[in-house]
Symmetry: C2
Subunit: 323 residues, 2 copies
């Protein structure tokens, strides 16, 4: 019998955090690429565009004028998916037709006054300002809502047509679906094994090493064992941190997203997910389509191969290297 | 207090088939569209292109030459994500690192010898040939595998760069993740309520009417109460049918996908999901990105509004109307 090798033989892996399976078919990377190629990314973005509603001094869709901000700038989304005051739908009349109330807030946060930078092109003190602003908005909205989701839709491939560096913050009166699954899994793991799932997971990855991308005094970056997106990574603090505001100043000089308020949440561990849409290069993307939407997530190289490639990426940002 | 109206007030809905929630924020449709606009769809596709590997008589990547087929044409995917003979990964050494064996088969099915048609442009007898071929491949692969997934990735937006009308068939030695959830939900519903979940669901939708799109003697098409994609629809047979091969000749003159073999599957009901990627028109798509990937599915119009719009779509196909 042939010996199993993950990099050659298809198999399925379990995601214990979100209770999901992924099909790993690494041999698919051998096929020649005949599919879609995206336009190259390098567009020249003007540093300031008075017509871009995210720029300092610009007028937004609702007529408000942005201040001439010089750090981060937080404002209410003009077309929020979550508003603070929707009425309650009332009880459902049938188990197959269940509706629940949803209340919340949607905010937009600009990272920097310039449109031609992204987080990786900003200085450490500038990034630190963003992290402090994430912790502050988590604290502010977390006082009113059980869940605060901070996320960045980055680039045209992800439907983001505004190049100005910014993220969104959606707080909700309910635990979103994926947070609910992470809640269930982490709570069950803690009660069964006596420690947080992601603490033990980080510990194991430090021992196993093959999926590590970066380690620092305070943080780990790794390709999770159960990664779905080709170059998906997970950012974890080394110590047990439940929410962004708990991060120490030293930890904030390089940190992420995600929070949750309430009773006992010691089973939670702060973490950030990165899901880049790419498969082979900056212009060949991974499509998560028919099989993924209808059956199960599928990936074409192993998480270990992805980690290996990410580890060897140059330290210098590609846009700085070009100068 | 304001009376709740689904078309105005955000709320969350439960998907009892896949055990998931969706955030419905219909008021978002009021915003002006400033986002990405896709290139128009109308490209002229040649009826026959000898260099297109899906055309009759063309040579495929592996050197094989296609027959001059005149109906459907089924062949093995040259770069299958599932192969029949991968070795078993063996037992996992830690609960956070679980791997299981995956075996299977991937096939491609051309619907028609011409590249310039799609299913909706084919005649009823031509479509019937496709449905019979789906039932046959389900029977063939279903004898060896517990799950046969038939799916069509359609159009460039879904990463399909080959215009020739075709679908894929992936059979697996495991129940894919979404099938597993549908299995759990349908089994639990049947044991609690004594009838298949989707039979009762179809029955309720026939009574409630607001989400129906089309009804015929044998089939229902509706926007499910828990739809995630703006114009997602669900196709259901009126009577209890577990698998494609069980369809009668009359039912096959207009039918879909999906099957499963094994012990007692009476809780299953055959169904097909349609997930078009569009939001507002043929050139404005819905991006399922940051919030959807990290937190929860979100939609911008209600399933009832979508059903209403789909009901009023012209009967004549847009490409035929242009003539
Ligand atoms: O048709 P292809 O090129 O084999 O593959 C396409 O569908 C597959 C199944 O949904 C996806 O995994 C791929 O990302 C997509 O490009
Ligand atoms: O940034 P926007 O335009 O508000 O919205 C974008 O992100 C949202 C949250 O992931 C998605 O629901 C939208 O489909 C997407 O276009």
């Amino acid at each position: 019998a042939t010996t199993f090798r993950a990099s050659e033989h298809q198999h399925i892996r379990y995601n214990p955090l979100q209770d999901e399976w992924v099909l790993v078919s690494a041999h698919r990377m051998k096929r020649p690429w005949q599919g879609q190629v995206e336009p190259p990314l390098l567009k020249t973005v003007p540093r300031h565009d008075p017509h871009n509603p995210l720029c300092p001094g610009a007028t937004r869709a609702n007529g408000e004028v942005n201040p001439y901000y010089d750090g981060t700038f937080l404002f209410d989304n003009d077309f929020p998916a979550l508003q603070p005051d929707a009425p309650n739908p009332g009880p459902s009349d049938h188990p197959l037709f269940q509706t629940e109330a949803a209340r919340g807030a949607c905010k937009v946060m600009c990272f920097h006054p310039w449109s031609d930078v992204t987080l990786p092109l900003m200085s450490i003190p500038e990034i630190r300002t963003v992290i402090d602003a994430w912790a502050a908005v988590t604290e502010e909205l977390g006082a009113r809502y059980p869940w605060v989701q901070i996320f960045e839709n980055k680039g045209a491939m992800m439907g983001c047509s505004n190049p100005h560096p910014h993220c969104q913050v959606w707080a909700s009166s309910f635990l979103p679906d994926i947070a609910q699954r992470e809640e269930r899994s982490q709570r069950a793991y803690q009660s069964q094994h006596g420690e947080p799932l992601l603490m033990e997971y980080g510990h194991q990855e430090l021992l196993r090493k093959e999926r590590l991308v970066l380690t620092s005094e305070h943080w780990l970056v790794l390709v999770p064992f159960w990664a779905v997106w080709p170059f998906q990574t997970l950012l974890l603090p080394r110590r047990h941190v439940r929410r962004l505001p708990e991060l120490t100043p030293a930890e904030r000089d390089g940190a992420p997203t995600g929070s949750k308020a309430g009773a006992n949440w010691d089973h939670w561990q702060l973490h950030a997910h990165y899901y880049p849409p790419l498969l082979r290069s900056a212009t060949v993307r991974k499509f998560m389509v028919g099989y993924e939407m209808l059956a199960q997530a599928q990936r074409d190289l192993t998480p270990e191969q992805a980690a290996e490639r990410l580890r060897t990426v140059p330290e210098v940002h590609y846009r700085l290297g070009q100068k």
